[in-house]
């Protein structure tokens, strides 16, 4: 574990070094290839002088709302597909079809139908996560050992409680990987939507920040925003997901 962190850390330092060398040798125009110091400055300015902090919070709030709605729907619908065969057959077909449509491709339609409000962005986020999550959850549900289900029925769980008491924990490794995929997809869906929408009536997010910086040819600013996205992703991956894994599937000795 230590070792791994060391290797990863060294690699990052190495990349930064190369970056700075490329900058120093002026291999690319400075306008397109800012120095680390410029990016750092843009990062700092973004939070202190501009509204990057607020924008990040706004994006996160959209993301979280979409994520919770999408996740709940994925659980609900996947659960229903276990309980009802006909619904299950139809839903799994629906998942296969809808999962193919990138969120960005839906944006023109969504704008036409719903306008450019917050709800539309949330809808795109929901779309980006509900299908991959449903897929993972249903994969997980269908790989639950028969023995657990029999034990569940034997101790008196009914159709609904067996879902929460047996299927859900037994499929947790799949559920978790579904959440990870969903999280990454949701981020992408969100940023794309924000870049295309610009500001909504209630606020602007990171996507908009990037778009503005590009328009102003402030490449350091663009990188600063990318840095924010990566940083949040890393925190979620290494802190939140690791924590959940440690207290669930690793503790239980189950994995995929």
């Amino acid at each position: 574990m230590r070792r791994k962190l060391l290797h990863q850390g060294l690699f990052v330092v190495f990349v930064l070094l190369i970056w700075q060398i490329v900058y120093k040798w002026k291999l690319f125009p400075t306008l397109m290839f800012p120095s680390l110091a410029d990016i750092g400055q843009a990062f700092f300015d973004g939070f202190v002088k501009e509204e990057l902090g607020q924008m990040v919070m706004y994006s996160l709030s959209l993301l979280l709302r979409g994520f919770i709605i999408g996740m709940s729907l994925a659980f609900l619908l996947s659960g229903l597909s276990i309980m009802n065969k006909v619904f299950g057959d139809i839903y799994s077909m629906l998942v296969s079809m809808c999962d193919l449509i990138p969120g960005v491709a839906l944006i023109p339609l969504a704008i036409l139908w719903m306008g450019i409000g917050e709800e539309t962005i949330i809808l795109i986020v929901v779309h980006s996560i509900i299908w991959p999550m449903s897929r993972s959850i249903m994969d997980g549900f269908s790989s639950v050992p028969k023995l657990y289900k029999e034990v569940g029925r034997n101790i008196g769980l009914n159709q609904f409680s067996i879902l929460l008491g047996i299927y859900f924990p037994a499929a947790f490794a799949h559920v978790l990987s579904g959440i990870k995929v969903g999280w990454a997809r949701a981020w992408r869906g969100l940023i794309s939507a924000e870049m295309i929408f610009g500001t909504t009536s209630s606020g602007a997010g990171i996507g908009w920040f990037i778009f503005m910086k590009r328009t102003n040819v402030d490449i350091a600013g663009v990188f600063a925003a990318l840095l924010v996205i990566v940083a949040i992703g890393i925190v979620v991956e290494y802190v939140v997901f690791r924590f959940v894994e440690k207290h669930t599937i690793r503790k239980w000795g189950i994995g995929k």
């Binding site: 050992p145 023995l147 657990y148 029999e150 034990v151 029925r153 034997n154 101790i155 008196g156 769980l157 409680s161 008491g165 047996i166 924990p169 037994a170 947790f172 669930t248 503790k251 239980w252 000795g253 189950i254």
Partner: protein, 256 residues
């Protein structure tokens, strides 16, 4: 101490409806069997003769033809009046610690009192010599320890009938002896009826108040009371006679 008929089976026929079914024919072929409350029935029979299938039908895990009545009620699904200890090791829920595995069915049944739950799980884990491991998770246990926990879980529910499928097969001679006497004590004290599958003639004689021998063609070949006074040891009067009788019944079959 034996009383009213608790389990009545008439002309039980079981066939698996898959591609192999035609080849296999009837796994259970017209089984008649009545069990009285308080009996300890041991079932012997060659491997593959349908012992587990018989138990699973009583447990309500399989469809069947004929009648199975428990207290006059037709068996259509599993229920907490018939708790099964499966032949497989993987029957504990991996996401629950040993003690939670024992407590969970009681919670499902509606027992909410934490102290009471703790008391019951401690009592039964003690009986199967698993108290020291109550905080362990199933993946940290050996096969025999898992089976012992599963037995505690079944007994803690105080079902009317406990269905046990070779529960002691994976244990060393000493823990096997201990568990046999514990099980017999519990059976005596709580007047629980037990159906117990084993490959071990001695075990059948030591535990059973009644012993069945099943044959390869899915019938009950022999159904005898076991008059030997408990606790039975190989030195008990008539032990040798009983052993010979069962052995030849089993042996004849493998000859055929």
């Amino acid at each position: 101490m034996t009383g009213r008929p608790i389990l009545e089976i008439k002309n039980l026929v079981k066939q698996f409806h898959d591609e192999m079914a035609a080849e296999q024919g009837n796994i259970l072929d017209g089984v008649d069997f009545t069990m009285y409350s308080g009996e300890f029935v041991c079932i012997l029979g060659p491997s593959g003769c349908g012992k587990s299938t018989f138990l699973r039908c009583i447990g309500g895990f399989e469809s069947y033809e004929g009648t199975i009545l428990v207290n006059g009620q037709k068996v259509e699904r599993p229920g907490t009046d018939r708790i099964m200890v499966f032949q497989e090791f993987g029957q504990l829920l991996p996401w629950k610690s040993v003690e939670k595995n024992v407590q969970y069915p009681l919670k499902v049944r509606g027992l909410r009192d934490k102290a009471k739950l703790q008391e019951i799980s401690d009592t039964y884990l003690e009986k199967v010599d698993m108290l020291a491991y109550k905080k362990f998770y199933p993946h940290q246990l050996s096969g025999g320890m898992k089976q012992r926990t599963a037995i505690a879980r079944a007994l803690a529910l105080s079902p009317e009938i406990v269905l046990m499928d070779e529960p002691f097969a994976s244990l060393d001679a000493m823990s096997r002896n201990n568990l046999q006497s514990e099980l017999y004590k519990i059976h005596q004290r709580e007047n629980v009826s037990v159906i117990f599958i084993t490959h071990n003639i001695q075990e059948a004689i030591c535990l059973g108040t009644r012993i069945l021998v099943m044959s390869k063609d899915g019938k009950i070949k022999m159904d005898i009371r076991n008059p030997l006074v408990k606790p039975v040891t190989p030195a008990s009067p008539n032990y040798g006679e009983m052993w010979d009788k069962l052995h030849s019944a089993l042996y004849e079959m493998t000859e055929e």
